[in-house]
Amino acid sequence: MNFAFSEEQTMMADVVRELLARECGSAALRGQMSAACSFDRERWRKLLELGLAGVLVPEDAGGLGLGGADFVQIAEACGYACLPEPLVDHAGVVLPLLADSEGETARAALTQGLETGTVIALTHPQTPWIVAANAASAFVLPGPDGLRLVRSEEVRRVQQAGIDPLRQLFTVSAEPAAGALIAAPGAMAALLARAAERGAVFTAAELVGLAQACVDLAVAYAGERRQFGRPIGANQAIKHHLASAQVKIEFARPVVHAAAALVPALSEGVPQSLESRARVSHALLAAGEAATLAARTALQVHGAMGYSWEVDVHLYLKRALSLTQRWGGQEHHRQRIAERILTAPLGPDRLFPQVAEETGTTPMKRTA
């Protein structure tokens, strides 16, 4: 039992953090916003040069063959930087889905994705809006006869105006026979279910990173902004708001990390036990709450400045709004928690449930 990251895991995330600090600072984001560009190809290239696309792809498919614990801090870093590009979806969800699919078409698309850095996007029933579909070269689209891989020339993209000024959203559709089938309906359901678990875990990580960015932004401002002859951050009213936001973050983060540890190094996906599903849902709910509170706190601490377009708070607030509704939304995840607590064994020895099953320890009986 060791609930800590390895040095390698943290080093890899540090490299990403440093790159994003250089390439994805406030000025860069503002430049993109005024150019109405939600996809910076140069930044994308630099991120992919680090090998990030294939982190979760098995080695025999050309990836690094790592697991969720290796990627989760990277996803946090993306959230912290308010990264416009869909790296978390691409590397965390879409490429693992392709690696998870049978057949030559999926493998060829995966290889192309890994080798050329081309963006592949997924339309998932739980996340109908595709981020940066204008930058994607291919799409994974569910249809009545299964999951299809369709080249960008064959799809219709309709931009859907959204609140996040750094991201452009699209709905994407194609003729029923467009592209090539990569999974029959039965296999499609399993692939999409696994994709949803990965999506929820890594979106939760983005939200935790984003939440921390909000607190850090507000702390910096509260230390500079002076009223009544002293920094506003010297007032307990401000301190306590920020401390409360930090508490929420601190008790969301380990849940996200534990959920990420459920994403195995091989492509088969998160175990579909009630307990594993509940942990993933818990991660997304807790991270969403932390991000929402942190963003609202940052807004309040910044006062009228926070309500202005000029200060970055709104970028985080809007991204939080967008991410918290992805991968099923709160009610869906609360249902999964309820299902777990009302039907599976409870108690302190069920914190790491997959373990109890493996080693044959008898779980405590339910007394009710």
Binding site: A222, R230, Q236, V255, A286, L346, P348, Q354, V355
Partner: protein, 387 residues
Amino acid sequence: MDLRYTDEQQAFRAEVRDWMAANVPADPLPSFDGGRAGFEAHRDWEARLNAGRWGMVTWPEAYGGRGLDLIRWLIFEEEYYAAGAPLRVNQNGIFLLGPTLMEYGSQEQKARFLPPMATGEEIWAQAWSEPQAGSDLAAVRAKAVRDGDSYLLSGHKIWSSRAVMADWAFGLFRTDPASERHKGLSLILFPLDAEGVRRQAIAQINGETGFAELFLDEVRVPAGNRVGAEGEGWRICMATAGFERGLMLRSPARFQMTARRLVELYEANRETCTPAQRDAVAEAWMAAEAYALSIYATASRLIAGGSIGAEASLNKIFWSEMDIKMHETALAILGARAELLPTASAAGDVGRWLDGYLFSLAGPIYAGTNEIQRNIIAERLLGLPRG
């Protein structure tokens, strides 16, 4: 990162579970704050635990422990609370002063005080707060005057948990009369039956005398009862407070068991429960899980050589607020029965929720109020300017 227990850890869990099954009293003991009988029953339980060498599994064997790491301590606690074992009457000793002595005490002090602490022969109270030194602990006025090889302790301490019946106390005293605030303070151990100590019980919100006022009038103790150097008291007490707020005092299993009981209460009252109550129950369960995961992460970090400082304040806020929320949810599910004591004929099976609720309300106050904790987080973790 490896979130699996080793075979040895699983075997340890089974060993604890078996021992608890054979030894935990079938009926709950009477409260240790409700009278001498309950207090002594808890002392006997401590002795029994210690006879099985389960008193403090993390302590070195020489002091009655097993020298185990924090992961095993967590496993022990999980099985302890799952078995419904009694609350620890000597928690001030084993969770607060014990670790403090381990870090700052002399060899003589460790040998003298730790073994009887582990067996429950000597039960400890904390004597820090004073009428004018609560949240502002550095305003301590009680003094320790050096007289040859002794100190003479005088002053007025208050809100000392367990002090009505405990055997010893560890107090914060001003050893330098010219000093101010955090300087010139020392941590000194004194027996509560010494000449010059007058204890006055204070009835708590539930009517029990869980804490006391202590009036000290030239209580003579050997100078060897001072822990650490003269004037080091503040620094040492802050380390103790870290143990108190951090992972020792409120281990996660306790809340995981409360969450489990809450789910069972919901199931038993499902027909009258609202969807909002279902969500509140789910929130409670999630909070307990989050707290446990966070503590496992902290334990892993400490085992790898890390340390815990102001982070302890995050824990304290989280568990104290979680505890209240869980009990509020339970009372809401009980509805009109919530105000009834278990002895009322109309109460049915209301359990101990009301009792637990009252106790939970103390959480944001003791071990440093949550307002003080938020100041600590803001200033020391986030780096906001001091007010």
